[in-house]
Symmetry: none
Subunit: 216 residues, 4 copies
């Protein structure tokens, strides 16, 4: 009897069930992503997300314990994409390589759109703040390590604290998305990269670096 049942309901051996489920989960995540980015977290209802994903309201709660959890899942899924890439400072042309990096990063991020809801929630959701803080810390450490290498190699300003410097770089990078919101025009990644490099390298070191690397 149980075999019968299995045959009836589970005609395709095993994967489909899970595959279906995963598809729905993905659809919900995607819909949440889109709607949160469009209308903000509080202004998006669970019903809307479900309906946008083409499932029933109740189904939402089979996959996520609540609306908040969907957001956290979204973040965990996407956090990597939101991480800025680690720049390779000691390079023939750090300015233009940084510009390229930034451009690529923000074009990905822009499609994601998720960063728009984060400010809305940071003050209210400690766990979320924690998760993001951890991510940020990771970025910070990464940049700091990179800068330490630069300094060890003698290419950095002598008198700038690497900690504040790392923080400044992150601050600048994080503010880039606002340029679009506020001015409507696209950010000038070349100029921003140049500014960041100015903070990292004294001008004469830049020249040194170019020559050095070209020789290698």
């Amino acid at each position: 009897m149980s075999e019968n049942n299995e045959i009836q309901t589970g005609y395709f051996p095993t994967i489909p069930k899970q595959a279906r489920a995963l598809e729905k989960r993905q659809a919900l995540l995607k819909s949440g992503n889109i709607l949160f980015a469009e209308k903000g977290y509080e202004n998006t209802t669970a019903k809307e997300i479900a309906s946008h994903a083409g499932v029933a309201t109740g189904t939402f709660y089979r996959y996520f314990s609540d609306k908040r959890q969907l957001l956290l899942s979204l973040l965990k899924d996407k956090l990597e994409s939101m991480m800025p890439p680690e720049p390779n400072w000691l390079n023939v042309d750090p300015e233009s390589s940084l510009a390229i990096l930034l451009k690529a990063h923000f074009e990905r991020l822009d499609k994601l759109g998720l960063y728009r809801v984060l400010p809305e929630l940071l003050h209210r959701d400690e766990e979320l703040a924690e998760v993001l803080f951890e991510a940020k810390r990771k970025i910070y450490m990464q940049i700091l390590k990179g800068l330490e290498q630069v300094k060890e190699n003698g290419f950095a300003w002598e008198d700038l604290s690497l900690e504040t410097l790392s923080w400044s770089i992150i601050a600048l990078v994080e503010k880039i998305p606002e340029i679009q919101n506020e001015s409507g025009s696209n950010p000038d990644y070349d100029q921003i990269a140049k500014i960041i490099c100015r903070l990292v390298f004294p001008p004469e070191k830049m020249i040194q670096l170019k020559n050095l690397k070209r020789e290698e």
Copy 2:
């Protein structure tokens, strides 16, 4: 006899009715400020604000047409305090004068606490976004004008776009409050000032500036 009159009508030296009303209004604004900063805009109810201010729910609606209007009033009241001061770049010691300026500004701002809710609302409230955008534009123009003077006097980097530079300075300054939220420690205003100055002045110009100003 006229004394009688004065005694009768003017017994309390301060205008009682209007003063009371203003006090209540202020209390509501203050409570809104505190609660918005603590728990975010959406998570704070009109009832809570009223009760925190020690008045009844209905009283809230005598002074403000709704929660949103209280926030807008708060902003209009406080926008000036939120404006960063205009730095005087051409100065004997721009770094330390900037550091002092920043410290004073953020200590004021910190008491205000209002900036925490703004990101939450920018995407949802066009009028609010407008008000803030206008304020920001003003700051931007102020800084840009200052930098143009620096450049005209030949003290700026030759190859940095003043527009991107202005934007970067604002970006850095705006991010300062997050340092406290995230690291718990106080910002190192000296270092930040140094970094900003590095973006404005090439090192040799800094020295020139110091000598020049000292001679005056």
Copy 3:
């Protein structure tokens, strides 16, 4: 100087105080009347009535224990005007004298406007219903008595119950105001009077009556 003051404020000896009070009461009643007729009872606030009458909200409650009481006072004041007049049936020309009576009555009533709120309240306010019911009963008895005289004098239909007849006359008269609301045009009082007389008198009795009365 102080004398001046006293003269200014306390010039009229005693009546004015009471007169003032009555004036205010009247103003409130009038404003209530106007606003109730315009917007209905529930849709009119005590504040509005007070402000329309040019007094403060609190003053309203010095003159009336509550909104409902103002309405009851209004009714008691105006109930007489709302009473339809007693027709004199045994008359040379009952049709035209009735028509004149009805016209005069409804032109007064129309200025009053109060009847518009009554239906709104009859089901909710037992005391009000009582008051109005009593008034109506009085009208009913009056009409019934009139009809009995007509019958005693042998001028009425033999086969109509005077009770139902009285009720029918009241019903018709009470419905007259709706003509204006619904059709926009003015009621044809001559026709209505003719119809009512048709219910009271058989045609041959009408002729008898005319002759009889002319002879007198």
Copy 4:
């Protein structure tokens, strides 16, 4: 196999989901009807209606956008039952056939109870007034047409305007429910029918009519 299916899917003979929903809708309408009739429209809250219907507050708003919409639905559902039937005037015994018609109509209407709230709302809700006005106009036209036939056949009073006559009949009929409210006793439909017939037919025409119809 088909048996299996039937057992699985068609266990309950009646469409379960839609039927349930309709039941709830009906329950809400009924509760609204009862409560409006009992306590008036403004004095009945959406919560009360829901609770009286045995559902939660929110459920109310699944079926009706608001209280007003429930009332409009009620009216649209019930308007037909509220329409008085078209009397057949040219009849052996118009008086008793009219009496029977009226009795049947008001016994239906009494169960409905809805007419009690209408006066409360007519002054405030234009759409509602429109709907009711249209219904009334229909009744009016119906009666007018019937009377015109009577007149064409030479059975009506010569000197009464059919328009005012139609209006008077409606007025009388509409007032019938108030008899119960006010006197507590049941209306005497025979007498009312007699009165209405007296307005339509002169006495000699009544006799003619009886003879004529009996011969046919």
